[in-house]
Each structure stands twice: as structure tokens, then as C-alpha cells.
Symmetry: C2
Subunit: 205 residues, 2 copies
């Protein structure tokens, strides 16, 4: 079925949000860890991390203008440090619960039962339960006037990967690590590898 722009604009807002959050396809499921100047930790599930470059290693995060993202944004702007932690199939329910609108002085780690992991010289908490953890230092913050979203560009300063999931060519076997994919606002998926394909060159097709 074809849906026109006028039909999208006329949709009930929660229906439209569910649809628009589904149309781009599968999304990564990550927990973003941060901390304010007083040591109050924050943890927020986000599905908007994008690879921006390898050299230097850069990750972009899109923060929607919603209450749940506000504490994360303030913490990152204040301390410049944040973490990205994969969500795995054994704790996706706890990860999802971080999206609830907790007060600023409440730590989502405590509320959902995940464990902060600290590293020397790094002011943001990692998630102990995550097998893949990225430490990021803020490089750029770009608010987008078009709809009030915020782009954060961070440089990878440290990376944890399970040795068993790291392949000889540098790629990570995400299914071996137990990472889940997200779609829409609330659907969590396990995966099954279909294929790895060779580098594409004209004439292969």
C-alpha cells in the first residue's frame, strides 16, 4: 500500500511515531552512559548511533528532543565523556526500562539493575553487563534547527570487545556477542547470519 505525505501528517501521533520509527529498518540497540558533575549516573537506551569514520574513529549519536534524553545531553556537554554499550539478549528488558522518565537525581543503573563500571581518567560509567563497550570523548555538538534534535559527534578513546567475537579481519561477530537489533520503539530481535559477501567490484554481478 502507498501512504502519501498528507496521510502521514493526518495520523494520530503515537501511530505516526511507531510507523516513522520503523521505516528506516533495523537499528542498533545501545545504552548511553553518562554522569553529572555531582556523580549522579545516567543510562539511556538509544538506537541512533551511526558509524561516522574510522580514522579518526568517530561515532555520531542523534538525541531526540525528549525528556529522557535531556539528562544525557546535559551530562555529556558538562563532562565531554560518555559511553556506548551494546544491549544483549540477556538484559534487553532492563535496557528498555531505562527509557522511563526518571528524576534527575535517580540513577537508571540502580532502577533497572545494571552495574556501572568505571575506568581511570574517564568520567562516564560503562555497563558491566555489556560485552562491547565504547568510551567516547565529545568532539562536536550540533543542534538541528529543523526539528530540535541534537547531533553529538564523539571520538572513540577505548573499546572493549570479547576476544571470541573478534574475527581475523577486524570485524566483530555481533551474534556471537549476543547483541540485539531494534525496530520501531519497542521490538527487540536476535539475528542469524545469512552470509558474508566479498568486497564488491564491477564484474562480480
Amino acid at each position: 500500500m502507498n501512504i502519501t505525505r498528507a496521510e502521514i501528517d493526518a495520523m494520530e501521533s503515537r501511530y505516526r511515531a511507531a510507523l516513522m520509527n520503523s521505516v528506516t529498518g533495523y537499528k542498533p540497540a545501545n545504552l548511553v552512559g553518562s554522569c553529572d558533575g555531582e556523580g549522579v549516573t545516567n543510562l539511556a537506551i538509544m538506537s541512533s548511533a551511526v558509524h561516522l569514520g574510522s580514522h579518526p574513529p568517530l561515532v555520531m549519536l542523534v538525541l531526540r528532543p525528549v525528556a529522557a534524553a535531556q539528562h544525557t545531553l546535559e551530562n555529556i556537554l558538562a563532562t565531554k565523556h560518555y559511553t556506548l554499550n551494546h544491549v544483549h539478549s540477556d538484559f534487553y528488558k532492563a535496557a528498555h526500562q531505562t527509557a522511563a522518565r526518571y528524576d534527575r537525581d535517580v540513577s537508571e543503573f540502580d532502577e533497572v539493575g545494571l552495574t556501572p563500571l568505571w575506568r581511570d581518567g574517564f568520567t562516564a560509567p560503562f555497563v558491566q553487563e555489556a560485552a562491547i563497550r565504547i568510551g567516547l570523548e565529545l568532539r562536536e555538538h550540533r543542534p538541528l534547527e529543523i526539528n530540535g534534535t541534537q547531533l553529538l559527534i564523539g571520538e572513540i578513546v577505548s573499546l572493549d570487545v570479547p576476544a571470541g567475537a573478534l574475527m581475523d579481519d577486524g570485524s566483530i561477530q555481533l551474534e556471537a556477542a549476543g547483541s540485539v537489533a531494534l525496530s520501531g520503539l519497542d521490538s527487540y530481535f536476535e539475528t542469524r547470519l545469512l552470509d558474508r559477501l566479498p568486497y564488491a567490484k564491477p564484474g562480480n554481478g
Copy 2:
């Protein structure tokens, strides 16, 4: 294992690219369709589409500064129209092959064996074989000085979704549509729904 930033910087470049393309987690697999002013069509697989907003419905695309993305970028800037088409498990090999470095006057549709679908008043081709197709009109183009990537923000002007995959709440059942997820540069995945979780509120945890 912990990998430091110095170790990342010292990696062989293809190894580093494979690793850095894996660290954010699963990615959506989409084909971006475009056309130049002379009617030469272009099709490029991209894994960087991000939901940016629902009202208005906006999608952001990150274009890496590589040859394969150059024709797509030029076409979109010239015509302002482009399409995003889901990759499904029955044609992921053809989709992957669009990443090869074809000459400007060659259409990836012809080379990989996919079918352009045209709509009245819209200058970019959709992919007939894709069940989920988005027509986009360019709203903003932001080059990022930090590493030469280009952000394209587009507004959804039309949307095709199979009626059988559209749920009562507006979300799309991506596994029913056959959409695949990507990781790294070359790994394609089918999915299995683990769970849909209720809207998170304090006290659920």
C-alpha cells in the same frame, strides 16, 4: 579485551575499517536510488539511514567521502529527490554488488539486475523488488569538516509498506517484510523477534 585508542590508530587500515564499522552494532540495509539530469539512474547500498523525526517525517543519511557515494550525492543535490528502499533476504547479493565502483554513465540497476520503479512527479527511481520504499525530498545538506562526511536530511513525501506487515499500532513488522540487517561492511542477517516491550514508565523495572 580492551583496545586503546593508540592501538586503533596503529591498526592496518582495512582491519580498522572492519572493526570501526562493527562497533556501533546492527545497521539497516537500504538501497538509495537517485538519477542525474540526463536520466542516468544510480543505486547505492547504505547502512547509515537514521530516523530524525516523525512530524515532519525526517530521515538523515550519512554519506562517507568514498567514490561509490559521490554519484549519489551529486544526483541528490541536483534533483533534490532520492529514494530509500529496504534490502530483503531474496536480493541482498544484488544490493551488495551496488557498492562496486561503476562509471558515472553506468546504471547499477542494470548491472546488478534490479528494476527501477518510477512515480509521477518524482525524479528518483524506487526499487521494484523492495517491499518498503520511501520517497525523500532533500531539506538540508551539511558537510562535516571533521572528516569530510556529508549529512543529508530528507523529508518523507511518500511511503510504500506491505499491508500485511503494517501492525494496528503503526509499527512495521520488518521480519514479515523480509528486511535484513547489516553489520560491519559485508555481513547480512535475518532476524527473529525476541519480544515487544510496553512503553517504559518508572516503577515497571
